[in-house]
Symmetry: C2
Subunit: 273 residues, 2 copies
Amino acid sequence: MAEGIEIICVGNELLMGKTLNTNAQWLSKRATVFGIAVKRVTVVADEVAEIASVVREALQRKPRFVMTTGGLGPTFDDKTLEGIAKALNRKLVVNEKALRMVKEKYDAYVRTEERLEMTPPRIKMATIPENTVPVANPVGTAPGVKVDLDGTILIALPGVPSEMEAIFEETIASLLKEASGGNVFSEKSIYADDIMESALAPLIDKVMHDNPAVYIKSHPRGQENKPHMEIHFSSTASVAEKLEERLQEAIIQLSSLIERTGGKAFRDDQAIC
Amino acid sequence: MAEGIEIICVGNELLMGKTLNTNAQWLSKRATVFGIAVKRVTVVADEVAEIASVVREALQRKPRFVMTTGGLGPTFDDKTLEGIAKALNRKLVVNEKALRMVKEKYDAYVRTEERLEMTPPRIKMATIPENTVPVANPVGTAPGVKVDLDGTILIALPGVPSEMEAIFEETIASLLKEASGGNVFSEKSIYADDIMESALAPLIDKVMHDNPAVYIKSHPRGQENKPHMEIHFSSTASVAEKLEERLQEAIIQLSSLIERTGGKAFRDDQAIC
């Protein structure tokens, strides 16, 4: 069974550093909480050939989900669906259901008897790869797109964060939840002073060896000569209760190893041991 | 001549959504300002095989630069150099120069006659792929790594932002500047009210057609039914002065097209036309 998710973010503004990629973080957090591991995040330009390559490469790795963000709007450089069509070797067609969705939005916007004309940029938002399904956008105009491809579900979401998040919560979250088979993810951080990362490393090794289901990673927050360390514990399991116990055991073991070397371990402002 | 840069960010904390990828934005901004286009950003897990695949794929696309961030530290899951060694089919070796760099740091940290022991985690930071060059880290312990590969310069930087930025500014920025041949990048945003993105699209098309060296992208900041649009203009050129004129011409043309449709265009709080 295919596992995990790949996220593809489309947008020159990301590659220019104009925009911070908060969408990737938001989606990663949501997938992780559902127990679906994020395998890769790729950011590409608004170019059809580039988008098609990245989508094709992701599909070849056969994750359970491939999710794109960005490039669904009405402007000439919203090219994600063209890229996906190319990757899937399908035509772009005006989808009747998508067209109704877009029309209804514009009708609601004007709120008069006069209806907004369906200009080419507006019709573009309803033009999706053939044999794919439009997904309602509760807060914006461009629908998302979904297609099941031999075990991988490919989903295209808009780049405007509020729209991406709304479509995800309304339609996509339940797919991830179902795919994870009820897995739950949990994480906790503790902090350590007076121990260098290089001295902490073998202690973490030992605790991960003794607690194979817990993943531990140190993040230096001070400097090596004035060490302040965040230590992040995380785990995925099918029962939430065991998960908390599991993290707790690893935290207590590592904390006492740190104290034994003369370091201080604490959670927020409280000592652990 | 190879062009552009690919950025590879290594770290489970990014894929879990624990950490926002500010490193990718920071590097993208700096490269773009030097006139070097960022072609792709990839985020991968702390796994040797994954890192090796992503590095190999990036090198196959032959950009001028491949830059990695993260995974250079002393802990077991700092695996970037192992991944790069695998991608290049080279051995990992203790580099004498890197070892001196790491030793000097630890000697400075303790500031006594007693010297810190060079434990395996500390030696690990000086263990780099053979025939690569360690790059001094002005603010942390782990050196960066640099290697010229048949037209592509591969650079590994740490993931701690202050360390990554310091190594970049001290050693890498000049390489990018040189590669760009003195190109300069400039950008400006204007804002527009009372015009929908779908109505703006053909106007942007026209202005980009008339100003082929200027790239224009609209970013909806309101909602389609209460449109507030940021419109971002950018361009790269060899002479800074012409660049500003070029952006200015495109801005004036698009602003008057917007006003003609009944919309309002402004820069910060001032009307443009």
